[in-house]
Symmetry: C2
Subunit: 179 residues, 2 copies
């Protein structure tokens, strides 16, 4: 089954971006390539705020890298335009719909609020974190509070240049809910 993979770069103190959305600190990650990861996904899902920051940082030309890209928003009009799919569907419905079709894994790009919704709905199958060796002291949190405890198992822990570490976790669900 297609997995939902939350994959993000964060600071040691757990931020995905500075307070204004800037992700300049991720450049510390140096020569780490996400090509391997990109080969495993064909779909991306992001929250509206993350999309708007991305749009600003890319100077209005949002790059989807060939991924079928969903922007989750309760305020923007739903539908397909400019190569993106806007949707207000709840996580469970969107994922059920995507899983009804064959395909590669689904990249949950963030931000924190979307991650929280997906963790609350227990839809996150894997978490991949690229942790850069800095504490920002303030910013947009990757894991804002507000979901039940979710246990994972470590599936990978690798060290890259410039102190980047990449840790990958897979969800361990209670047996009754196991698929």
């Amino acid at each position: 089954m297609r997995k939902v993979v939350l994959a993000v770069g964060i600071s040691v103190d757990g931020y995905i971006a500075r307070p204004d959305g800037d992700v300049d600190f991720l450049s510390m990650a140096g020569d780490y390539s996400m090509a391997g990861f990109f080969a495993t996904v064909d779909t991306a899902i992001m929250g509206r705020k993350t999309f708007e920051v991305g749009l600003k940082l890319s100077k209005g030309k949002f790059e989807t890298y060939g991924l079928k890209t969903y922007v989750c928003s309760r305020t923007l009009p739903a539908g397909e335009r400019d190569g993106l799919i806007y949707t207000a569907e709840p996580p469970e419905e969107l994922i059920a719909k995507l899983r009804a079709k064959k395909g590669k894994n689904i990249w949950l790009m963030g931000g924190g609020e979307l991650a929280r919704d997906y963790l609350k709905a227990d839809l996150v199958d894997e978490i991949h974190l690229g942790i850069v060796p800095a504490l920002l002291g303030e910013g947009i949190p990757m894991f804002p509070a507000g979901f039940p405890q979710r246990d994972f198992k470590l599936i990978e822990n690798e060290t890259f240049s410039q102190g980047l570490i990449v840790v990958k976790y897979a969800r361990v669900r209670p047996k009754a809910k196991k698929e």
Copy 2:
């Protein structure tokens, strides 16, 4: 010079404890031994709230493991009693005093508010994190916001049983402030 080492166990979402201070989830860390770390320190510093949680969890018999242990509090009376040293000294003064004497490293035990004070004062020389493979969804944060960006370099990244990873970082200070 004696280093100030912030060493704590945390969840993937950055909590040192559940909302009520419980640290039961750290038992996931399995057979990881802190003996090696204990050999490098002779002094411990903790915040008042962390101390009170420790006191409660230990049923009133706080164990210092032979470390000279400071409890930082602006409300409790200063002075030495019951094998502990209570102090209201600002971080800079306490650390300057400790560094004026020869000794091993200084263990900054937490919690988050104390860590923030020490990061703000740029007194944290190393950060050692034991990360257990669970997201709590709520709790007491290790790195509450409110200090300037602090860059570190990775000095160690090791995987242990049961998915525990231990990452160690050393502070990289701007050249002007280099010691």
